[in-house]
């Protein structure tokens, strides 16, 4: 596949002295034509900073970015109108109508009137806001505003679309609608870079995912390969009542792993007051696990049984949850 973006050893530091923060610490990767590339990581991991450096909105301290073989930090005119960014915060003007906001951007991107009208009509139709096109933004619902936010970056038909946390705060229905919209972008010939801290979002939308934490890429691969990399089997997540400390859980995990006769357990991960146990053919083994935990004077507060997720990959790599 054709490389669209090449990132090499990108670094960015903010602040000075004690307040110095190494936001991005030498990340490198390539993004290919018409793929959805996911950046998964907790808040503050360096996703948005990386994104802004990639498109030329933020100058890196070190490293190199090329988009279609050109440096976005050198004000190369041929890169203008190639990039579209869907930020996590609204990009519209509350006191203008839906249509006026789109026309404003069409003019800013210097799109001829006839072509702009066609695109605006098409985009409004794609997000189902035909009846609201002459409505002032502040009179739209939260979901309608988020849908509008998606298309503002597409008025100029960019080749590369950057979606920065597109779904926080959305109801499940709207979230699915946004996912469908993003999923459809490669079909229109676009390459998408998606940043998210929702593992499900990264999993369902991305062709490849880079898990990022503390400004470093921990792993980069397809969601399927990332999940399988931590082992086979299902997972049971056991949340213990009474908020026991993590250090008390370590002996419990060791005893479970060494249980006779063996269960056998593929892996046990501790995160805060939870144990995540992965094992093949897990369900028949569950009663024995729970009985053992009770016997060790722990009480089970909550229990869930599921397949491996990207969050498990993250926990496996960092010992923390994405949300923590």
């Amino acid at each position: 596949m054709k490389k669209i973006i090449e990132v090499k050893a990108l670094k960015k530091t903010f602040g000075k002295g004690k307040n110095k923060v190494h936001a991005v610490q030498g990340i490198s990767f390539d993004i290919y034509d018409q793929e959805i590339f996911g950046f998964l990581g907790p808040n503050g991991a360096g996703k948005t900073t990386s994104l802004r450096m990639i498109v030329g909105l933020l100058r890196p301290d070190a490293g190199e970015v090329t988009i279609l073989g050109k440096n976005p930090h050198k004000k190369d005119k041929s890169l203008k109108n190639v990039l579209g960014i869907i930020p996590q915060t609204p990009t519209f003007y509350e006191d203008l109508t839906v249509e006026e906001n789109l026309w404003f951007l069409a003019k800013i991107y210097d799109i001829p009137k006839k072509l702009a009208k066609e695109r605006i009509d098409s985009l409004i139709s794609q997000i189902g806001l035909e009846e609201k096109r002459k409505t002032i933004i502040k009179n739209l619902s939260g979901g309608q505003k988020r849908r509008l936010n998606l298309i503002l970056a597409l008025v100029h038909d960019p080749k590369i679309v950057l979606c920065d946390e597109p779904t926080p705060g959305l109801d499940p229905q709207s979230r699915v609608a946004v996912w469908d919209f993003i999923r459809n972008l490669p079909n229109q010939g676009k390459t998408v870079i998606l940043t998210t801290h929702y593992m499900e979002e990264a999993d369902k939308l991305s062709n490849r995912v880079a898990i990022i934490d503390n400004g470093k890429i921990l792993v980069l691969d397809t969601p399927k390969k990332l999940k399988s990399s931590i082992g086979e089997g299902d997972l049971v997540e056991i949340e213990l009542a009474g908020q026991p400390r993590e250090k008390k859980l370590k002996p419990l995990a060791a005893k479970l792993a060494a249980l006779e006769p063996p269960l056998p357990i593929e892996d046990i991960t501790i995160s805060q007051n939870s144990l995540t146990i992965r094992a093949l053919d897990l369900i028949p083994k569950l009663s024995r696990i729970l009985a053992f935990i009770e016997k060790q004077n722990f009480k089970v507060g909550n229990l869930s049984l599921r397949g491996t997720t990207l969050e498990d990959v993250f926990i496996n790599l960092t010992g923390r949850r994405l949300r923590s």
């Binding site: 579209g84 960014i85 203008l96 800013i108 210097d110």
Partner: protein, 459 residues
Amino acid sequence: MSLRQILGISQRIGLQLIRSKWTIPYLIIFPVFFIGLYWFGFSASPIGENQTFILGILNQDEGIPLEIQTIFQNETLMGNWTFDQFHSGNVLTEGFGNEFISILTNLTYSNQSSSSLIFEIIEFTSEDQAESDLRDRKVDIVLVLPQQFSNASLELLNQYWKNTYGLYLHENLQSVDPTLPDFPVNITDNILIKGDEGYLNYQIANTILINVIDGYLDLAAVFKGPGGSITFTMNEEISVSIPTYSLFGLSIPGLIAFGIIIQPSLISLFFCMEFRSNNRTFDLIRLSSSTATTYILGTFIIQIPVIIGQAFLLFVSSLLMGFQPMGDIILAYFISLTILPFSASLIYLTTAVFSNEDVVGTILGFGGPFLGFMSGAFIEVPQIVIVKKFIPTASGIARDFLIWDFLPLTHTVSALRQVLLYNFNISQVFPDILMSLLLSLGYFIFSVSFFSYFRFWRN
């Protein structure tokens, strides 16, 4: 950068201005309220009534030998001309300078119940002493009558008489020779008035003095005397219209200039909406082929009608509240517009540094009065000289370049004062207009570069 992009920015800000509930009412009410507030506070008690101002005079007039015959050939000249020598047709030696000082010394507030003198005269023999006393406020104003004062006065009179004869020639005075030479000298070019423009007593005294000079230049009345002779009468009692300015009236030039420069605080609210740290609209703009210049020009297009309208309303409000301009108010209006680029530059400079429209609005809200004070719009400013005798003036003698002269507003206020209070014409205030415009454009260009680098491209 294209026109479509520039107009896109303009249209967006224009729509926001119109849609905002309070913007249009504010734009209309502000000038009326602003001027009205000063009118309410400072117009009640007129100042300068019956006040005697201390006028320092440096009389350098060398006088002029004059033979009546050279002017009027064989005509008989009669009338109540002040100079005895003039009446007798002999050589004039005293000069017009002393004559003028005599008029100034005896001027009274004839239109007032009191007959107190308008000026207390102190004559100086040295320019340094005059300037020193001016600085120490021992005198309110200094009038310098130059060496050629009599010569210039006479030439001006000749011109006046020639024009008058020209008028009469075709009626009754066929025998009078109309071929007097043209005398292009303007007496006001040679008179120098010195003082601190920010000093209230100077402002009032200057207004009166300018009126006296105008009256003096209009000194000859011509009428046909008995027996076909011509009588020239110099108005011994110069009719001086002494304006009863209040502090309100004297403040108007400063208020208008100030009113124009605080308008950016309003425009900035719409200009810098994108710059908020949590608003990424600006990212979309930066990713387009729009440049900082596109953005600034788009905003500037909106600022032009807003400031033109605001200046107009400020002038109209002033007139409606009783301000009586001494000079050309249309000229004053156009002078006030020279500050437009500077006004715009304040937005770009502020938004280049601050990204929250509330902060920007507050800074401009406080910065406007600060600039107003620094430019002497309201109060006298200390005389901090940067370059001595640098700025040309109507008198032909350059004045000192003060630290405040780096602000275009200083020159705008000065030019407005000279036109509105002292009835100066465009050629007389041209140096200040030019400085106001050039500095204003200079700040504009600098602010555009500053904004472009620190807001638009710095990342």
